[in-house]
Structure formats: C-alpha cells, structure tokens
C-alpha cells in the first residue's frame, strides 16, 4: 500500500484539524502539511484573474498559511459571471477585499490580506517581497512591472508563477531558483525496491547460505518457505561457479539463469515463482541514475562552502560513498514474500542494519565536510535529512530553474541556449509550442498597447480583442507578432524549416492567435477552474518539495483537452 511510505500525521487522538486534512495527509504527510502552513502566497492580479483566484481556492482549502491579493481594481459586472465568490453586493467594492473575504470563509485556519495599492508604487517599496514564500502573477500585466518582480524573485530565491487564461487556452510558467532539489519524489513503490542480490554484503550472503544449506534434504514445507532473495543468492553462487565468477548480465543470460537455475529448484512452489518473477527486476547493478550523477558533478556539490545548503553537503557525501563502494546507500526496505515469519523478520533486520550502517557512514562524511568547510554548529545538518536522502537517493531530482520569459516592448523575444530546442518543438506535431508563441504575442500586444494609467491620458492595460470594433485590426497585429517570433526563433537557432511545413506551422499559430483575440481577454469559468487546479497542484509540489514539479512551462488547449510541458 502506497501510504506506508508516508509519515503518519500524528501519534495521538486525531484533532479536528487532522480530521479535516486526513485525505491530503495521506498524500504529502505531516512535513508537507507543515510546509504548506508556513507558506505566505502573494497573488498579483490586474484582471478578473479567475484562474488565479481558483488557484487560491485550491490552496486555501488544504490550509495554506497566509495569502495576500494585490489588486487595485473594483468589482465590475463581468467579474460576477466568472468569479464565483463575488455577489451582486460586491459591485463597486475592492476586488481584492471581496475575494479575500470569501476565500477566508473556506477555511478558518487561513489568513488572507488584501492590498489595494497600485502595482507601480507597490513594487518600488523596499523589501516589499521578503515576507512571501511564493509569488503568483496573472496576465495581463505591464511587462516592465513583471520584469521588476522577476528580478526580486530571482534575488530572493522565491518561486514565481506567471499565468494566462484566455478563452479555451491557458498557460503557466514557473521560475524556480537555479537549484531546486527534491528529495521526496514519491517514486512508484515497485521502483524503489533495491535488493542488492548482485552485490550482497557478508551478513546477507551468510544468511542466504544458512537458509539454502542442504536444500535437497529439507522438508517440503521448509523448502517452500525459503525467502526468494535467498534463493536468488544461492543460484547466483552456482552461476558464478559455472561462469568464471561473472553474473548474468544480458537479457538472454538472465533468462537462462531464471529457466535453467532458479526454476530447476522447484517447478511450482510459490517462493520459487517469486524468485523467477524477480530475476529481471532484481539482477541489476546498483549504479546511480544519470540525473543523480549530474547532481554529484554539479558545481554546488563539488565546491562546498560553509553556508552551502544541506542538500549539497549530503550530495557530496553520497557521491564519495558511491565512488568508494560502487553503489548507493541501501534503502533498506524488503518487499513482502513467502517466508516463515521469524526468517522474514531476520531478513528485514539484515537489510535495515545495512541501511543504517550505510547512512551512518554518509553522516560521518557529512560531519567531516562540515568540519573541513568550517560550517558553524548552528547550521549542523540534521541526521534525519541525511537519512531521507539515503533512502530515496536513486530518485532524487534536481530542477534547474530558469528565468521567466518576459516580452518587453521593442525588444525581440530570444531563447538563448533553448533556441534549437524550440525549433525542434516547432516541428513536433505533439507540441503545443504554438500556443506558447501565441501567448508571447498576446503579451507583446499588451506591452505595445498599454499606457500606464498613472500617466495623464493613460488608459491602462489593453488586451487584444477587448473592443469589437478593432477585432480585425487586433487579429492582424497578433498574427503578425506571432509570425515574427517564429522567424526570430529560426534565426536565433540558425536553422530553416522548409515549406510546406513552414506554412503549416504558421497557419497553426495563426488559428490560436485568432482564438485568443476572439476571446477578448475573457476567461471561461471551467478553463479557469482547470488551470487553477493545475497551478495549485504545482504550487503544492513546489511548497512541499515533494513530487517533481513542471519544468518550466505548461500549456493547456481546451479545444483538444490536452496539456503539454515545455522547457523554455
């Protein structure tokens, strides 16, 4: 059962709070819930922003600590149709205040704050972003303001989400810190089993010999209760004897091992069945996956300083362990199997003991590293953290956050080292990059048609299609901008796409542009609700540092009911 890997929320009688959150504690456990409750979210909204409000709803319900909404607008008629919180009597009141009021009704444990200040002045204040753990910005927004927010988020290492929701289409991008490690990735339980049958340590080998000693003379009952791990180890010894000390390596050899060794032991006993079934899965050398080796070789792990985050200290220590032993620390879990209870418990203890020893060795290395870098005792790395790392080492994930793409007026959109990858996306019919380009064009339209409302005669944000009279003109402009971006990508990458593919790509993007203009910046409630679900899900992953979040852009096409993740 999956839940067995999750730390149970409490040891005593459940409180009302634990009862309320019971269903989600089964997913992210007490540490995840704690992280959620320590979070203060900032939403920056300049339009009805239903997708963003839906996101907040999905975070208030599970009990995020605090949230603030920065939105200087007052409630208009159109808000009522899409934002289900607002009622007729909200008309004319501050949108931020009204929304906060209703959101807080959902969960009395959550603190909400409304900020009615104009964005322009808000962002100029000193240390204005420091109280927040995560920032959510909903388009449309003045791109120069967004650029300032990005700068602060980068400097403070605050995760930043930027989203669009227009008609049937929506998009969000996540800007994470340059190194965002996830230790608890919740891998598939079957993927975490690591039995080390190819590299048994003495205690395990000894136990297997004892269990399989004089197997032929055993009673039927005893033979049928040899744990399958011991059977595998026993037959591997035979194989080594027959094959100059090598182990079955290729698929073919493993098959031969299964059919001509293990199966020969007994044709129909359940434990032999289990052993045969485990051959292909378990006869693997404990090499580190490439993603983990990348972490070992990352500059942050190689060049530790006294103040490096604990993650890198542990990564360095485990890297040393790996080099020394040719394998990762043992996770220590033993799957269910047919065995006598006493033997099974002994086997469990053998694995647990080894896992503890491995972990202790890593802890010792960490302590040495702390000493050699002169890390203060206040920053001493918690042993539990090392233990978690050791348990899930093979599945640790590192996201390399990249800065958010912002379209500034009069500056071409560039993709840098991702330009070639973007060309590939353009030619991949599965990709929704066309939608991303259409949203970039939408942003450029906003950037070039917005006059700051604080300036005299300024009209504020203008989105394409919000005025029926200019529909055709807006459409043409949008398509023009989008096509320019496509050509820009090709130029930057120094590549060409020939016709008819080139025209097909442009036509596809044109269609999306027309859809976006047609919607006139309007949100469809259910698309907004879905987008709010998607974003809240990713916010929870980022906050709890559990599960692997989207890296770094997600698109949803409501016409085809399809989503796509793009690394920009």
């Amino acid at each position: 059962m999956e839940t067995t890997t999750i730390e149970p929320p409490l040891q005593a009688l459940p409180t009302a709070k634990e009862k309320r959150y019971d269903r989600q504690l089964r997913l992210w456990g007490a540490p995840g819930q704690r992280a959620l409750e320590e979070t203060h979210l900032l939403l920056i909204n300049s339009s009805p922003g239903v997708a963003a409000v839906e996101t907040l709803k999905n975070l208030v319900l599970p009990g995020v600590g605090q949230f603030s909404i920065l939105d200087p607008a007052v409630v208009e008629e159109a808000d009522l149709g899409v934002n289900f919180f607002l009622e007729d009597e909200s008309l004319g009141k501050f949108r931020a205040e009204e929304t906060v009021k209703y959101l807080m009704e959902l969960n009395p444990d959550v603190q909400g704050h409304a900020i009615k200040e104009p964005l322009e002045t808000f962002i100029t204040k000193d240390k204005v972003f420091t109280p927040y753990t995560l920032i959510l910005v909903a388009a449309p927004i003045d791109p120069t303001i967004l650029a300032t927010i990005r700068k602060h988020a980068e400097a403070l290492h605050i995760p930043l989400f930027y989203l669009h929701c227009v008609g049937y289409h929506s998009h969000f991008s996540i800007q994470l810190p340059p190194a965002f490690p996830i230790v608890d990735t919740h891998p598939d339980p079957t993927a975490t089993t690591d039995l080390r049958v190819l590299k048994p340590w003495p205690a395990l080998q000894e136990f297997a010999r004892e269990q399989t000693h004089a197997m032929d003379k055993m009673s039927g009952h005893d033979k049928a209760h040899i744990p399958y791990i011991c059977l595998l180890l026993h037959y591997l010894e035979q194989w080594r004897n027959d094959h100059n000390g090598t182990v079955p390596d290729s698929y073919k050899q493993k098959q031969e091992f299964r059919d001509s060794y293990v199966r020969k032991g007994s044709p129909d006993e359940e434990n032999f069945d289990e052993a045969c079934a485990a051959v292909l899965k378990s006869l693997i050398s404990p090499t580190a996956p490439s993603a983990l080796r990348d972490i070992f070789n990352a500059p942050e792990a190689m060049e530790l300083t006294a103040t490096s985050p604990p993650f890198w200290f542990i990564a360095n220590a485990i890297s040393q362990f790996y080099t020394k032993h040719g394998g990762l620390p043992l996770p220590g879990a033993v799957p269910d199997m047919k065995a006598q209870s006493a033997d099974y418990i002994r086997l469990q203890n053998i694995y647990k003991t080894k896992a503890r020893e491995d972990c202790a060795e890593v802890v010792a290395t960490v302590r040495e590293l702390e000493k050699s870098t002169g890390r203060g005792s206040k920053l001493a790395i918690i042993e539990k953290e090392v233990e978690n790392f050791c348990k899930g080492a093979a599945h640790i994930h590192l996201v390399r956050g990249r800065p958010l793409q912002i379209v500034l007026p009069d500056l071409p959109v560039t993709f840098g080292d991702r330009a070639k990858a973007m060309v590939f996306e353009l030619t991949n019919p599965e990709s929704l990059i066309g939608e991303y380009i259409a949203f970039l064009a939408w942003d450029e339209f906003v950037a070039t048609h917005t006059t700051s409302s604080s300036v005299k005669g300024g009209k504020g944000l203008r989105v394409p299609g919000n005025n029926d009279a200019e529909f055709e003109a807006d459409k043409e402009k949008m398509v023009g901008i989008a096509h320019k971006i496509v050509d820009g990508i090709l130029n930057e990458a120094g590549e060409r796409i020939e016709d008819p593919e080139y025209t097909e790509i442009k036509d596809g993007i044109e269609k999306i542009c027309v859809e976006l203009v047609r919607a006139g910046g309007g949100e469809l409630h259910n698309i907004a609700s879905l987008t709010g679900g998607l974003i809240a899900q990713e916010v929870i992953k980022v906050i709890t540092k559990q599960y692997v979040p989207v890296d770094n852009t997600c698109l949803f096409d409501g016409v085809a009911s399809r989503s796509y993740v793009l690394r920009v």
């Binding site: 269903r23 959902l106 259910n526 899900q537 599960y547 989503s563």
Partner: protein, 622 residues
C-alpha cells in the same frame, strides 16, 4: 459589453450559449467532484435560462424547465472540508445536496437548482426521469451506483459524463472486501434477517456451503448472548478458535502453506481491566497493536457496540467514521491476520482499507470537473448541430457554427473525448483519447434498449410478453428472458408463463430491467426492456389495453460475429479497460504484469482474509 456572461458568450458563441442556458442537467453526487462540477456548471451558465418570457416564442417545444438537479444521499463530514468547498463547518451533518444547492445558487442568481437528498436507486428515478435531461454527470463514489446510472442513461438515451479521481491522479482502483467489515460485522450487528443469507457462487461445493451456513447459524446463537459478560469470549472463541479449527481440518488447503493458528481466549487473557485497556489503546490509531492489545480493543469495542444495541440501536452498520465500528473491524481484522500470519496493520491503515478511503485533494477534483464541463460543451454542440441540420433541411436559414466545427471533431458525441489526468509524469498531465464505440461483447452497452407500456391492471403475464416479442420484435421460438431474479423463460422453461410480470419485480413503477436474449443461429442483439410510467389507455372500443412497446416498430440488428481474440483480458468493465490504455505501451505492459502477479497472490489468499469483488471497481473521492 460588460454583461455577466460576456466571457462565456464570447468563447462559446451565441447559439451554443443559448443551448447551454436552456439545458437541463442532472448531477449525481455532490462530493469532491460534484462540488466542483456544480460550481463550474453554474458559472458556465448551464440551466440559467429564465422561465419563459412573454415576448419571445418558446424555443423549446417541451414545457420542462431549464435547470440543474443534484442528487446525493450523503451528509457533510469534517473530512470533506479540505476540498468540498461548497460546505462549511456549520454544515456538518446536513444533507450535501441541499447545502450544495444553497451555496451554489448564490454564484448566479438566474440559475435554477433542484436538490434531492435521496438515493439514485430510488424508484422515482426511472428511465423517464433520466430522459428529461440533456446530459447527466456521474460524480459518484461507488461502482454499483455508477453502473446503475450508466444503465439508466443508456436506456434513456441520454449522454453521461463519468469522472473520478484519487490523489493527484484520475485513475482506477479495485475494491477489496475486508473480512471483518463485510462478514463478521454484519453477522453480529446487522439486521438479523440478513444473517445466514450466504451467497452461493458457482464452484463452491455443497458441503462447504453447508458448513459455512452452520458457522453463520452458530454466530446467530452467540448474538443471543449480547449484553452478558461472556459475550466477548463467546464471539472470540467462535470466530478465532472454533472456525479456525474447522478450517485447519481441511488438510488439503494447507499442504503448501502454513495452516492458521487458532487463538483461545482463556489462554491469552484473564485480566479484568481488559476493556479499560482497550479504551485507552483505541486512541492510538497510528501504531500497529500487538496481539494482546488487539484483544483488548476487540473486547472494548464489542462491549461498546453491545451496549449500543442494548440501548435501542437495532442495526449498527459499519461506518469508517463511527469510531466504535472501526475499532471493532480493525482489531478483528488484525486478530484474524495474526492467525493467518499476515502482517498486522494500524487502525489508520485499516480505516483506509475498510472505509474505501482514497487520498483526495482539491486540485485534482477541480481539474477533473473542469474537463467534464468541456465535454458537456461538446455534447451540447453536437446536439445543436443536429438541430441545425434539421432546421436547414426544413428551409430555415440558420448559420452553422463554423467557428466551432472542424471536421476532425466529428467523432462520437460531437468529438467528446476520454481525458486522463496523471501525476507520474509531468510531461503529460492531461492526455486524451477518442471515445470507443460500444463493444459488441459488453452486456451493458451493446443491447438495444426499449420501453414497454404496461396496462393499468398490473396483471400482464409473461405469456403476453412472449407473444408480443414474437409478434412485434421478430423473435422465433428460440430465445430466453432474464429478469433481476434470473432466467424466467426459455423454450424449456414454461412454468412461469401464467405468472404476472410483477412477480419478477417488473412493473409500472419499478426500475428493473428484463433482458431478452436471442438463442437462434443468427442471433439478434440483446433487447433490454424497462417499463414506462404511463399506463396503456383503454381502447376506444372499450377493450382492455394490451401490452405494447412505446414505439411502433422495433429494429433489432444481428449480433456481430464474435471476434476471435478478445482485445482485452476481460473480466472488467469496458470503461475500466479503456481507462488503462492511458499508460504508454511498455509501462502499461509492466503494470499489467505486476497486476497479474498481485492478482495471483490475492487469489491465493482468497479464503484467508481478502475477497476480491467481482470485476474490480472505480473508486472515487466521496
């Protein structure tokens, strides 16, 4: 243009917006997905057409009213509040349907919501009831009700949108029956006429069944001791000692595995404070209890439950949120596990197994519900397109919805799709697949559904039905008729012909079905009959009305020849099979293998603790 529905009108276009507003929608279930769905439907304008105004001619020929109907049997619980956002703390213990209506009505003043705090199995929800809706949404947490709604919708020919979530995923999960919950508990505290009513399945040998019956009888006797001090000991020795001894005596069962070790109450415990200890232990639901601790909790919960029975509760049903029942089921299950040498679980874990608790969060529900509404738009559009086609043929000058119609979309139900939400890979959070056509082998979706109009008298006999089938539906002699009770007619079974159909549970106000199976060499597809609520009126010449089909003619195509190799491994429901296709090739294969393996394991444990429910189940957030 700052109207409330500007965004909707802009995106959907005028005609579809109108259709959406005029629609009549049924939502079954007001739990996690139900709440989100209701909000989405209300905010998208479904059923928000104001009652007919005088200046516009009614566009809808029927007199029915646009609106949403919510049906749910459940009441609000504290653990719902982390995602079922239509409910607040002050709503706990109130009917979900009514509260949901109250809260959601505020989202849009022009929406019309009806709420029923009732079971969808109720007699009032017959085929004609379902026919009244444009689209039905299933947001249910149990397979039986899902199957029922599916069948009713097929019979009523109304589109149904199904959905489900667990944790971060929308996926499928099998229900396992837990022995202590499904057998022992009802035997002791269930309605007494139910006890001893054992289900006999094919392949059980008669001796075995007789013995099981005996066992159940003995338990019944022990029930008589309830309230006396020896009750706990009697129950304990009966189920953990005597019954186990009997199982042990079947030596052939234990040749290849360890026989169970019976537990004797007196040899384990003489402590008089056992109930007190159990009470204290029952608050520690995270750590697995030891053998003695389980006995303490067992005695304590049995004592508490007996006192409740004595105090006037006739029947106590297992409810995962009724702590006393959970204590009992958790301790009893663990004791039995001990006997069979199965790992013991903490009460928290048992609660998850016995209570069908699925991790549930707001985000997945929001996603799933939104996807449902998208599918509803597509269905509405296809209905609209059909209406337009008819209108055009009649010379009316309607503009087809070019903006929304692309040739690619013209699949089943207007191009509606099956959509999956997965969390394992962030590359494809949402993926979709075209709907599959009905499967020829599926007993639910392949038959022709038809309605019978029964005469007022209620005395229509099976003979009359047989005659009607032969006369009107083109059956020859070789066919059989199955009602809820089983086969009631075939060429060799004519004992029932004189009996009225009502004797087989089929009447004007029942929701039961009768299936006609053609057994000839060139068989027609199955015919599934339901009864209409309207009574056949008396003929003009004064003759009593005769049994008839609601439509004049009935066309039954031939069954397609059976495919040589079934596409799937069978056993499950079409929907479940289809859902698993979302996995990519290799992964799916691996999972299928794993599943087969664990299924094998389970079967081996069958008579031990876990009984697999037939066909697996989709399990949802409640």
């Amino acid at each position: 243009m700052q109207r409330r529905d500007r965004g909707i009108a802009q995106s959907l276009g005028g005609p579809l917006t109108k259709k959406v507003k005029e629609s009549r929608v049924l939502l079954v279930g007001a739990g996690g997905i139900g709440c989100e769905l209701l909000k989405n439907l209300v905010c998208s304008g479904f059923g928000s057409h104001p009652p007919a105004t005088t200046d516009a001619p009614p566009t809808n020929p029927s007199t029915r009213r646009a609106g949403l109907m919510v049906i749910d049997l459940d009441t609000v619980d504290l653990s719902n509040l982390n995602r079922q956002f239509l409910f607040r703390k002050q709503h706990i213990k109130k009917p979900k349907a009514l509260v949901a209506k109250e809260t959601a009505s505020q989202f849009n003043p022009s929406v019309h919501i009806e709420a029923h705090h009732a079971s969808i199995f109720d007699r009032q929800y017959n085929v004609e009831f379902f026919e009244d809706f444009d689209v039905v949404f299933n947001a249910l947490d149990n397979l039986a009700a899902r199957r029922h709604v599916n069948k009713m919708c097929l019979a009523a020919n109304v589109p149904l949108i199904e959905s489900g979530t667990t944790g971060f995923n929308g996926q499928v999960q099998a229900i396992q029956k837990v022995w202590a919950k499904s057998y022992l508990f009802p035997e002791l505290f269930g309605a007494s006429e139910e006890s001893g009513d054992m289900e006999v399945t094919a392949g059980d040998n008669a001796d075995e069944v007789a013995k099981l019956k005996e066992e159940a009888e003995a338990l019944k006797k022990i029930r008589g001791l309830m309230g006396k001090s020896e009750f706990a000991q009697a129950v304990f020795n009966k189920v953990f000692s005597d019954d186990i001894d009997r199982l042990r005596s079947m030596t052939e069962m234990w040749q290849s595995r360890k026989p169970p070790e019976p537990l004797r109450f007196d040899s384990l415990s003489h402590d008089s404070s056992i109930i007190q200890q159990g009470k204290a232990l029952s608050t520690q639901d995270q750590k697995p209890w030891t053998l003695l601790e389980n006995i303490s909790v067992f005695c304590y919960s049995l004592d508490t439950l007996s006192n409740r029975m004595q105090a006037g509760e006739n029947v106590i049903e297992f409810d995962k949120d009724d702590k006393d029942t959970l204590d009992f089921v958790a301790s009893a299950a663990n004791l039995r596990s001990h006997i069979f040498d199965i790992q013991l679980h903490s009460e928290w874990e048992v609660k998850q197994m016995a209570g069908n608790i699925i991790p549930a969060i707001a985000t997945s529900n929001a996603l799933t519900a939104s996807l449902c509404v998208m599918e509803a738009f597509k269905i509405m559009r296809s209905q609209q397109a059909k209406a337009n086609a008819l209108a055009e043929a009649a010379g009316n000058n309607f503009t087809p919805l070019k903006a929304h119609t692309s040739s690619k979309d013209d699949g089943l139900l207007g191009g509606a799709k099956m959509v999956f939400l997965t969390s394992k890979s962030t590359d494809r959070l949402i993926s979709s697949q075209s709907l599959l056509p009905p499967k020829a082998e599926c007993p639910v979706c392949s038959p022709v559904y038809a309605k019978l109009v029964l005469p007022e008298s209620g005395s229509t006999t099976l003979q009359e039905l047989v005659d009607l089938l032969k006369a009107t539906a083109g059956y020859d002699d070789d066919f059989s008729i199955t009602a809820d009770v089983g086969i009631i007619y075939d060429p060799d079974l004519d004992d029932n012909l004189a009996k009225p159909l009502s004797e087989f549970g089929f009447s004007k106000d029942s929701n039961s079905f009768i299936t006609v199976t053609d057994d000839s060499d060139e068989p027609k597809v199955d015919l599934v009959l339901s009864s209409s609520r309207q009574a056949a009126s008396t003929e003009a010449n004064g003759d009593a009305a005769a049994l008839r089909f609601i439509t004049e003619t009935l066309e039954l195509p031939l069954k397609p020849p059976k495919a040589k190799e079934p596409e799937t491994n069978g056993g499950g429901e079409a929907k479940i099979e289809a859902l698993s296709i979302s996995q990519s090739g290799t992964k799916r294969k691996r999972e299928a293998e794993d599943e087969a393996e664990s299924a094998k394991k389970r079967t081996k444990n069958d008579d031990v603790m876990v009984v697999e429910d037939d066909g697996g189940a989709i399990l949802l957030d409640d």
